[in-house]
């Protein structure tokens, strides 16, 4: 299959029950792809955010696509709490593995390196650690009486993000959003939506190459102009604040959220 595909074809590896990692809200969230996943009706995702998320996680949770969530925070930022996340947790419907930002980075870095775990400072004495039976405290074997937390490597099935551009060989320019490269290195497979296709190879120019994720890690690319909307694509376009405010207002209730989905997610069916 070619590496450049239609959005629907590109998203095919995101199957029900898979572990999907998405980036934080300000670094290139694949929102057009997220709406397509909701239209397709994906279920039981084990969603991981690197390390936080806003609208993307809230939409997937509200639309019933998520069975479990690992995150260090879900919030709409200046637009308030993430209403569907908050509601799902309060009703006991969503299982959350609460983490802290550097733990998510470190657990994915373990997978990048192909090692079974990564040690991390902090955490000891917190209830974050107390609720993570999968995390472990050991005594630092290189010192005396120095407890330290071990985080098992986190290996998502799929990484999904939106980036400014890609070339026909599947190389993706991520610029300084280096956590997108971490996600891709750690995940079994990576799907990227992009604003545009780059003529020639992104690896030819050393300035571009330094910010490029090699196609080696990438399974599929789909064109999606303004594909992060209504969230920002850094250095390209800002958050659509008016839209996010409207989302916060509508999604405050289950009925309002359904209206939002009808208006901004499902209506593309007819188009």
């Amino acid at each position: 299959m070619p590496i450049i595909r239609s959005l629907e074809d590109a998203l095919a590896p995101i199957i029900d029950g898979c572990m999907l990692v998405v980036p934080r809200e300000s670094t290139g969230a694949a929102m057009e792809a997220t709406r397509a996943l909701i239209r397709r009706g994906v279920r039981d995702l084990n969603l991981v955010t690197l390390p936080t998320s806003s609208l993307q996680a809230d939409l997937l949770i509200g639309a019933g696509c998520v069975a479990a969530l690992e995150t260090s925070a879900i919030s709409l930022g200046e637009f308030g709490l993430a209403p569907r996340f908050t509601d799902a947790v309060r009703s006991g419907k969503l299982h959350v593995r609460d983490a802290t930002c550097p733990a998510l980075h470190a657990a994915l870095q373990a997978s990048e390196k192909g090692v079974p775990f990564m040690p991390l400072r902090g955490l000891i004495g917190s209830d974050v650690l107390a609720h993570r039976p999968d995390w472990m405290v050991i005594d630092n074997p290189l010192a005396n009486s120095d407890p330290i937390v071990l985080l098992p490597a986190l290996k998502p099935d799929v990484a999904l993000f939106h980036a400014p551009m890609a070339d026909a060989a599947g190389n993706v320019w991520v610029g300084r959003q280096r956590e997108l490269a971490t996600m891709a290195h750690a995940a079994r497979t990576t799907i990227v939506t992009v604003e545009k296709l780059h003529e020639g190879s992104l690896l030819n120019d050393p300035v571009m190459a330094a910010g490029t994720l090699p196609g080696l890690y990438v399974e599929a690319i789909a064109l999606a102009p303004r594909g992060a909307w209504p969230l920002t694509l850094p250095d390209h376009y800002p958050n659509d604040g008016a839209h996010l405010a409207e989302y916060a207002r509508l999604a405050a209730t289950a009925e309002g959220f359904a209206t939002y989905l009808d208006r901004f997610v499902h209506d593309r069916r007819a188009a």
Binding site: T71, S72, R90, T100, C101, A103, G125, H131
Partner: protein, 247 residues
């Protein structure tokens, strides 16, 4: 001889107090949704002629990291972040902060966004300034329901950082790490010790004479309004307009 009293806002006074706590450091980082700490960090930099380095994590212009989201945490883990700010849905008298849940963790009555980087940064950033503008028994509690990050740790736990102060809309508490308690440092103008006691859910130490939080100087106000406010407007336009632009 007395100078005429200066006209200043609460936000300006709080930023001045925090800038004093930052003092002469190399690197101050400020997280998202923290306009007053960001004002304070930029004020400290304006006073220091370009030092400390200030990382405003949600700004494009004031965020110099180039190695992805992990760089801040790696930097902090090495001791290269000297001061940071944390808030909490609840904060207790031992400096524990809660950013997760109220009530049963599995089925809470309140769910906050989550712990962010607190469960790590609180341990490794030497000067963490707690900041909560709602000073009430709802926020300042005897014991938090969920410890996102503890104020103090056992002696054998690696800990180079922790809380130094808690700044609220009513007062300034210093944190005494040895006693594991807050100590009332000053009460802001227009507020009283009784009011602070009535609105605080935990015990704290009180000096014999409770000082009033000093007002910002004319020079400080000038720096904030002329130098800091335009920089702040990039990230917090509404805040900058409301606080610094004359009505």
């Amino acid at each position: 001889m007395t100078d005429a009293p200066l006209d200043f806002s609460t936000e300006e006074m709080l930023a001045d107090v925090i800038a004093g706590l930052i003092g002469d450091l190399r690197h101050v980082a400020v997280g998202a949704a923290s306009p007053i700490p960001a004002t304070a960090a930029l004020l400290a930099r304006a006073r220091g002629g370009g030092r400390p380095y200030v990382s405003l994590l949600q700004s494009r212009k004031h965020n110099f990291f180039t190695d992805g989201g992990r760089e801040l945490f790696d930097c902090a883990g090495q001791g290269r972040v000297d001061a940071f700010f944390l808030s909490g849905g609840q904060i207790d008298g031992q400096g524990n902060v809660n950013l997760v849940t109220i009530g049963d963790y599995e089925k809470p009555t309140v769910r906050f966004p989550g712990s962010f980087g607190s469960a790590y940064l609180y341990y490794v950033v030497p000067r963490v300034i707690l900041f909560r503008t709602e000073h009430s028994r709802r926020t300042l509690v005897p014991r938090v329901d969920f410890i996102s990050a503890p104020g103090v740790s056992d002696d054998n736990v690696f800990r180079t950082g922790g809380p130094v102060a808690l700044i609220t809309n009513r007062c300034h508490f210093a944190f005494d790490r040895a006693a594991k308690r807050f100590h009332l440092q000053s009460v802001h103008p227009g507020h009283t010790l009784e009011e602070v006691r009535d609105n605080t859910g935990f015990d704290f130490d009180v000096p014999t004479q409770v000082p009033e939080t000093p007002a910002p100087s004319g020079e400080t106000l000038r720096l904030m309004r002329e130098t800091v406010a335009p920089e702040l407007a990039e990230i917090y336009p509404e805040f900058a307009k409301r606080v610094f632009e004359p009505v």
